[in-house]
Symmetry: C2
DNA sequence: TTGAAAGCGCTAACAT
DNA sequence: ATGTTAGCGCTTTCAA
């Protein structure tokens, strides 16, 4: 059974190739009569366009590449899910790569090496710094994820990391904590995010009149759970250990919580904890994690829209979109440590409080209920 | 700046188009002298092949579509990561879709509607049942993820769900538990996985001479945390509540743990818990989760290899690959509940015990340490 | 409103 | 060892 092309359809409908093409694409104008005949033929032959040919001709592919460091990081997985969804809503498919922090991989992506024709690239750079990014040769639109100071040259979409960190820290201070540690500073690498979050942390301390204590800032290699766990362990060995920790992301916070639990420290009584990202898991740990929740859906939508606008390739000036974030207050800073009395739960009835961008201290103590989101039905097929 | 094609390169190097093509693809034979000239031109002009054209000509694209229900489920995210990696190792890129449990979306994928030319499709079906899958029209190779009873017609790769469930249940029974509940049965839908895991659960009970008690089997809508939390709550209301729970996946187990924690029940003392999937999070909950760990890397590699072998499209008989799984014993069934005494942790030194396929009761009590895996450097760029 | 023909950039036959 | 030519299936001028 040979592949069906426009030719076959045309001959069956007794019209020319062009007419069929018109019908398929809704271009030109066709009599209702011929259109019907063509559509009948289309259906009968089960015609499906050869996209490679179409792309060759049109020069665009309907494909958007999304390059993230690592899909196993829940934050990126959730972001990827939103990006795929947003792209689909705009009729685009997503080509997914994992850079795994490899500079060479990021460079290859930027240069469009070994890639099909793309409508654009959404990149969350890790290894590459601003100058390297600016050198980009390829002309297909590029949108960067994440904040890049002093880089007004490229389109990017981000949250205000500095403000987010300040909000988180201020929340801890508002609880009366005074030895507020930070986990997530980095010695090296062009990780602007870490720099900005540290800055926000310091800003908040300053605003509260708390003096900055270098020993309370723990450096990590990566933003992963083990790093958070190790960092927390180090902080606990200080002569005056912290009574609160701001972790630069949720993975670090979860690692820190693990260490605290193992050491028998009570959260939030002994140590209060805040993270950033609001990964789904943050709602479900015990105690559940207070965190800065960036609007991931807005992030994804903005990235795709920015991309499809055409960016520099279309002669537009570079844009920066900053999406809102909110503080989701949960048990690690507010709720009671789980106890037999609590029938806060079971998480069965009620709906997820849709708190606005302003911190609302009572919100988010409960995990969302089964029906709280128009979720699909993903079951399990290992 | 016009796009550089073979023609431009050819004229600059003073050779024919074909020769350039030969150099680029390593086909034919070229004198070292001319090759060098061509390569110089290639580099000077920064030639990049137009993949759309190449695909049109070759009829294959180097693209593999991977369709999973939902990337926000850590299990699928981890699987996706492995699939992307495996595909890259074979020189293929991955086009990622989320079906979100939508039957129509799965069907569209199967029929290749609106898709670029693909070298194949890896699908984890949710809504579609065996007959629907068999009807597949499209001829590009297809590999199914997950077990599909009575479906020897299609290539698929899976773990032995029945055995896995039996192993998990047997482990709980070996702890002396006798009221072993199950969370994850399903009323409806073609979810073969749920059926098989229930079967394994019953097998293990039977083998241990424990009578099956229907009331101990909790049904869920989806395999998500809230469902697990709600199911656990229901089980606890039984006149004789369970002393152990086998959850059909880790997400359900984490939900159940949350409910147990909130109710003040101690794990594993009061209730022991086992999951399936071994998502990364399972290592980091407190207490850490005992779970069945399928070999995800093997799963991904097998899927990609099966796909590239050509499958039915190449006239090969359908194959079923069953990848191994192991029981990863952690705190929810063995370790002490976290207490001040424990300096099992901090997770700083030592290396992750690489336990074999046989359950080793002492293994896996510690989270892996930062250096335990040749991990990349994913930091954070929200 | 519809048809004929050219060509997107590449690779595969077939020359030379 | 290299060059020439003919399409892959589609969209797009340009005519009819």
């Amino acid at each position: 059974m040979a592949r069906i092309g426009l030719r076959e359809v045309a001959s069956r409908a007794g019209v020319s190739i062009k007419t069929v093409s018109n019908v398929v694409n809704g271009t030109g104008s066709v009599t209702t009569a011929t259109r019907e005949r063509v559509e009948e033929a289309l259906a009968a032959l089960d015609y499906r366009p050869n996209l490679a040919a179409r792309h060759l001709r049109r020069g665009s592919s309907g494909l958007i590449a999304v390059a993230l460091p690592e899909l196993t990081q829940p934050y990126f997985a959730e972001l990827a899910a939103e990006l795929v969804r947003a792209a689909k809503a705009r009729g685009r498919m997503v080509l997914l790569s994992q850079t795994e922090g490899d500079e060479e991989a990021e460079r290859a992506l930027l240069e469009g090496r070994d890639l099909p024709v793309l409508d654009g690239l959404v990149l969350s750079p890790l290894a590459l710094d601003a100058p390297a990014l600016r050198e980009r040769v390829d002309r297909s639109p590029l949108v960067l994820l994440g904040e890049h100071v002093g880089d007004a040259v490229l389109d990017h979409v981000t949250v205000d990391n500095c403000a987010a960190a300040a909000d988180a820290t201020a929340h801890l201070l508002s609880l009366g904590r005074r030895r507020v540690a930070a986990i997530g500073a980095q010695d090296s690498g062009p990780n602007e995010t870490a720099v900005l979050r540290l800055e926000g942390y310091r800003d908040a301390l300053r605003a509260a009149g708390v003096t900055y204590d270098e020993r309370l800032v723990a450096t990590v290699e990566q933003f992963h759970r083990p790093d958070g766990a190790a960092a927390m362990a180090r902080l606990l060995e200080l002569p005056e250990p912290p009574d609160a920790v701001f972790c630069f992301n949720d993975a670090l916070a979860l690692g820190a919580l693990r260490t605290l639990a193992v050491r028998g420290l009570r959260v939030p009584r002994d140590v209060a904890v805040v993270g950033v990202d609001d990964i789904e898991e943050a709602t479900y740990t015990t105690p559940s994690l207070t965190t800065i929740a960036p609007d991931k859906q807005a992030l994804a939508t903005a990235a795709i829209d920015l991309l499809l606008r055409g960016g520099a390739a279309a002669g537009l000036p570079p844009q920066t979109v900053t999406v809102p974030h909110r503080l989701a207050v949960r048990e690690t800073t507010a709720g009671p440590t789980p106890s037999p009395t609590a029938d806060l739960l079971p998480p069965t009835a009620g709906s997820h409080p849709a708190d606005g961008p302003t911190p609302s201290p009572t919100a988010d103590l409960l995990p969302p209920t089964a029906g709280s989101r128009p979720a699909p039905d993903p079951e399990e097929q290992p």
